[in-house]
């Protein structure tokens, strides 16, 4: 049958990748679809940093890093296919850059013993390492982000948001819904009123939501958007004449491409960021050893922008964890379970970031068996019409609100799935 021969042909092609001593970092990227604008720079940064390590240091601990790219188009089924097809190459850690794909992969990767690093996205309660043994979401998660925004607003309003209204404009998916619980808690605590405005995938249709904002004039609009939704929202805010200073995005709603189309009109728009921007020495090295050498993943034009920096930061955290794993186990060619140990023992200090040529790119934090979530700190940045400028230092979230929520949600997951405590004895 035609079908069977086709199957046979593909199986012959799938099989047979030579096993070499290298460290495999799969990159589940998306360079197509409605979210490509965010996926491309992140993936470029992620891959270029490993290319830099290979070119400059000969890899990590003397072993070459190999990035296997797989296109998911932000689609969960394609993401699962990518996971299955790259897993057997000796994948060390997955970074899906999609909350939907993360939810699919959490049980699978845990069963396979491969760690997931979902930096600032994915399942928030995975910060509880006692339940989620193979999922890491350091340095910060969505609930931290929600709390950081509220903390910043509290500071601007002399410690009280009593009687204010905050509208949450969110992508109507698992990603966008994540902060709602926290914001509801915070709204009860600080006395502000929370309005929820959902925007359906992919996010171009926002007319109704902005009509409501125009009518109700909330004091602040907080946006949980991604992809094309951000650009549309910023343009709508300009059309509505909403004061841009009071329009605040989370860290996935504050990249260069989100505001560049609106340009100077969007000046004043603020967003969170978990990584600092600026002219770091590492960029010069990437320019020289990767881009000028033609080893870059993309076209090289994204170097240094918000999401490129974040991708590079993610790669740095992965590389540091791999080095830590090599140190713990005394082997250069580590496997996924060793990588997990390395991630759990990760300790990022300012001195180390300075040494790597990216001073202060992220907060200082350390990971433990119980805490996979990092410090949860983030900065606030502002678009001045031509570039992003850093407004604040790292702001801490209110752990007294987030910790019980994490404990509650992860406990529910643990009972649903019969997971026992991972950190109890040791």
């Amino acid at each position: 049958m035609k079908k069977l021969t086709l199957l046979a042909v593909t199986s012959a092609m799938v099989a047979g990748t030579p096993a070499m001593a290298d460290l495999v970092f799969p990159d589940l990227s998306y360079r197509t679809g409605a979210y490509a604008a965010g996926g491309i720079p992140f993936s470029d940064g992620y891959q270029d940093y490993f290319a830099l390590l290979n070119a400059r240091d000969g890899g990590i601990g003397g072993v070459e890093a190999r990035v296997v790219e797989c296109e998911t188009a932000y689609n969960t089924e394609r993401g699962v296919e990518c996971y299955e097809s790259t897993r057997d190459e000796g994948a060390l850690v997955y970074q899906p850059l999609s909350t939907g794909i993360t939810y699919q992969l959490i049980p699978r990767a845990t069963a396979d013993g491969i760690p997931l690093h979902t930096m600032g996205y994915g399942r928030t309660s995975a910060a509880n390492g006692d339940v989620f043994s193979h999922v890491f979401n350091y340095p910060a998660n969505y609930w931290d982000a929600a709390s950081v925004i509220v903390n910043q607003l509290l500071e601007e309003n002399d410690g009280s948001l009593e009687g204010q209204t905050i509208a949450l404009l969110y992508h109507n998916s698992a990603y966008g819904r994540e902060p709602i619980r926290t914001l509801e808690e915070l709204s009860a605590m600080h006395g502000f009123e929370l309005t929820q405005l959902a925007v359906d995938h992919p996010g171009q249709e926002q007319g109704n939501q902005w009509l409501q904002i125009r009518r109700e004039r909330p004091d602040y609009v907080v946006m949980w958007g991604w992809g094309v939704m951000n650009q549309v929202a910023i343009q709508e805010a300009i059309n509505t004449r909403y004061p841009m200073e009071n329009f605040i995005g989370n860290w996935w709603a504050g990249a260069d491409h989100d505001v560049e189309s609106a340009g100077a009109d969007a000046a004043g728009y603020r967003s969170l960021n978990m990584n600092r921007l600026g002219d770091m020495p590492v960029f010069a090295e990437i320019q020289e050893m990767v881009i000028d050498a033609g080893l870059n993943a993309g076209d090289g034009s994204n170097l240094g922008n918000v999401l490129y920096t974040r991708g590079m930061y993610a790669a740095m955290l992965a590389a540091e964890a791999a080095a830590m794993a090599q140190e713990i186990h005394g082997v250069a060619d580590i496997d996924a379970s060793m990588m997990r140990d390395g991630m759990e023992a990760l300790n990022i200090t300012n001195a180390r970031m300075e040494e790597l040529g990216m001073p202060g790119i992220g907060p200082e934090f350390s990971v433990s068996c119980e805490n996979h979530g990092g410090s949860g700190m983030a900065i606030m940045q502002q678009w001045d019409g031509s570039q992003w400028v850093t407004l604040t230092d790292f702001i801490a979230p209110d752990d007294s609100v987030i910790d019980p929520l994490v404990a509650e949600d992860s406990a529910q997951y643990a009972t649903e799935n019969g997971i026992e405590s991972q950190c109890g004895e040791s």
Partner: protein, 361 residues
């Protein structure tokens, strides 16, 4: 030559009207069944199971379901994704509310629930036809997705609105998990294979019997069908019920066995409706084999393209993803223009030629 009918005598009416009248076809069918049920489970690896065979089997069920409605009964539907979501959410609610329930019962009950919802949305088909019905079913698609997003009861009030499948067994005395992360590939595969086999067999016989003849009469000319005594109410609503039953089972399996976790807008959005529609267009309207061919084609194409373009030719992943759109789009146009009956018709033509070979007319 390949289809030698000499010596293959039929001595009764039932033999004459069997599904595979040619001996060779029959043997090939048994061969595929034996390989599918007894060989593949033993040689299956995770990649093949999770990336190719399980999605193929699940989409084959969905394609058969849509083919019953659109291909056999002529009622155009764009609500497939929404009905699949009904199956998925029913099975989620059943799995979490009744932890002791086995997966066969859960899946069948999900199908029954979807059949009821499908009949409700099929009611307008008595008044409206063709393009207008397509829009009505499109409304069902958007309404159902909106509903599952809007009402937290459906996703058990979880923070993110995701549903995830807990571990459940095959059948009440077969204690092999088919859902959850610890389910073995062969168990998941066999579970889907069982459903595909039974459902395809039932569908084939339904479409050959009086119910199927009524559907086809309605499809070909509904007024004439009514004059010769076909009850349009009964014919259309049974088509909606049976079709939704199949689609619901496919949606349930997609969530429980294949994905393990799902988000309604992403997993069961309008693109899913189009995907299944493309399957039956490319595979062949009004053909059970066409449903399989179309599902295999649409599941395999991205994988083949990826292997061919990215792994073999070293092409950029983004470029190959764009190529896929071009190729699928081109093929849909090709089939609509050149062979509206799809791969199944091409296959049937090839068989006709082989029966006459080497003496064509």
């Amino acid at each position: 030559m390949f289809y030698r009918e000499a010596g293959d005598f039929k001595t009764s009416y039932s033999e004459d009207s069997q599904t595979f009248p040619i001996l060779f076809d029959r043997y090939r069918y048994y061969f595929v069944l034996v390989v599918g049920a007894l060989v593949i489970p033993f040689v299956l690896n995770d990649y093949w199971a999770n990336s190719i065979l399980i999605p193929f089997l699940i989409y084959a069920i969905a394609a058969i379901g849509l083919n019953i409605l659109t291909g056999y009964c002529g009622q155009v539907s764009l609500g497939t994704g929404g009905f699949m979501a009904v199956g998925a959410y029913t099975s989620y609610k059943l799995m979490t509310a009744f932890p002791g329930l086995d997966m066969i019962s859960v899946t069948l009950l999900s199908g029954v629930m979807t059949a009821m919802v499908g009949v409700a949305f099929g009611l307008p088909s008595l008044r409206i036809k063709g393009f207008y019905l397509a829009v009505a079913t499109l409304a069902a698609q958007f309404f159902l997705v909106w509903l599952f997003n809007k009402v937290p009861w459906f996703y058990n009030y979880s923070a993110s609105g995701q549903i995830s499948a807990p571990e459940r067994d095959f059948f009440y005395f077969i204690n092999v998990p088919v859902t959850g992360p610890n389910a073995e590939s062969w168990a998941k595969y066999l579970f889907c294979f069982l459903f595909v086999f039974v459902l395809a067999w039932v569908a084939r016989n339904l479409t050959r019997g009086s119910v199927g003849r009524q559907w086809m009469a309605i499809r070909d000319m509904d007024i004439a069908a009514e004059i010769i005594g076909v009850n349009p109410l009964k014919a259309k609503l049974t088509a909606f019920a049976v079709s939704s039953f199949y689609v619901g089972i496919a949606g349930a399996l997609l969530f429980t066995v294949y994905l393990g976790a799902a988000e309604v807008g992403e997993a069961y959005g309008i693109t899913k409706s189009f995907l299944v529609l493309f399957m039956i267009i490319i595979g062949g309207l009004g053909s059970i084999f066409g449903s399989f061919a179309g599902a295999a084609f649409m599941v395999l194409l991205p994988v083949v393209l990826k292997v061919l373009l990215v792994d073999t030719f070293g092409m950029d992943t983004a470029l190959s993803a764009h190529f896929q759109f071009v190729i699928v789009g081109g093929l849909i146009m090709f089939f609509l223009i050149v062979e509206p009956h799809g791969l199944a018709r091409l296959w049937a033509l090839a068989k006709e030629k082989l029966r006459l070979w080497p003496f064509p007319h």
